[in-house]
Amino acid sequence: MSVRVQQEDFDVGAEIEALVRGNHKIGGVASFVGVVRDVAGDQPIEAMELEHYPGMTEKKLAEIEAEANQRWPLEASLIVHRTGRLAPGERIVLVVTASAHRKAALDSCAFLIDWLKTKAPFWKLEETADGGKWVDARDADDSAARRWIES
């Protein structure tokens, strides 16, 4: 169980390997990688700038991860979120969950990224030819997070 906020890129394969190595109770590993797209609506973007609230970010991510560990029997979990300026195609965020069975791994991975998107204090600025524009929060993200409240 671990959470990191960093400017540097991460190596998905190496992160997964380090997380699960030697734990032979693990039968399934789910992961999600968020990537910078090259468009915002119809407009091409040149880069994405990711700002966050140091201290609160790590606290919220750790809380979200603890919640996932309460809901599912996880053997290991990891959240890595980058900050700073990222070009299209660059990785933004990594979520990995590992469990004895695949359903716990898959569901908790979806839970973590849904909650991270609505609770962790990160903000995206999209740089287009017209200048920078702060990304609006998406209603779809709120409803994605809400579906975990009933379950």
Binding site: G34, L50, E51, H52, Y53, G55, M56, K59, H81, I92, V93, I113, L116, K117, T118, K119, A120, P121, F122, W123, K124, L125, W134, V135, D136, A137, R138, D141
Partner: protein, 83 residues
């Protein structure tokens, strides 16, 4: 009391953080936002739409009725868009 501003609240207000000493009658988040809004300029602009302003006190999300005290760290920011 330390106030932090993030994303477009930071750019509209023109500061990432500041130390403030609100008067004694400012006792909760709603009072603090009113007091800041009355400074006008970037403050009035950034805080004019309360539904777009999220508040954390000492690293925890709070509602507008949350009490505030001299040593608190208060953060004001728009809905989050990470991930």
């Amino acid at each position: 009391m330390k106030i932090l501003y993030f994303a477009w609240l930071r750019t509209k207000i023109g500061a990432a953080s500041e130390e403030v000493e609100p008067p004694d009658e400012v006792s909760d988040v709603a009072g603090l936002l009113d007091w800041l809004r009355r400074r006008g300029g970037g403050y009035a602009d950034a805080l004019k739409e309360p539904s777009l302003v999220r508040v954390a006190v000492n690293l925890e999300y709070v509602g507008y009725d949350h009490p505030i005290a001299a040593g608190d760290e208060v953060a004001l920011f728009p809905p989050v868009t990470g991930g």
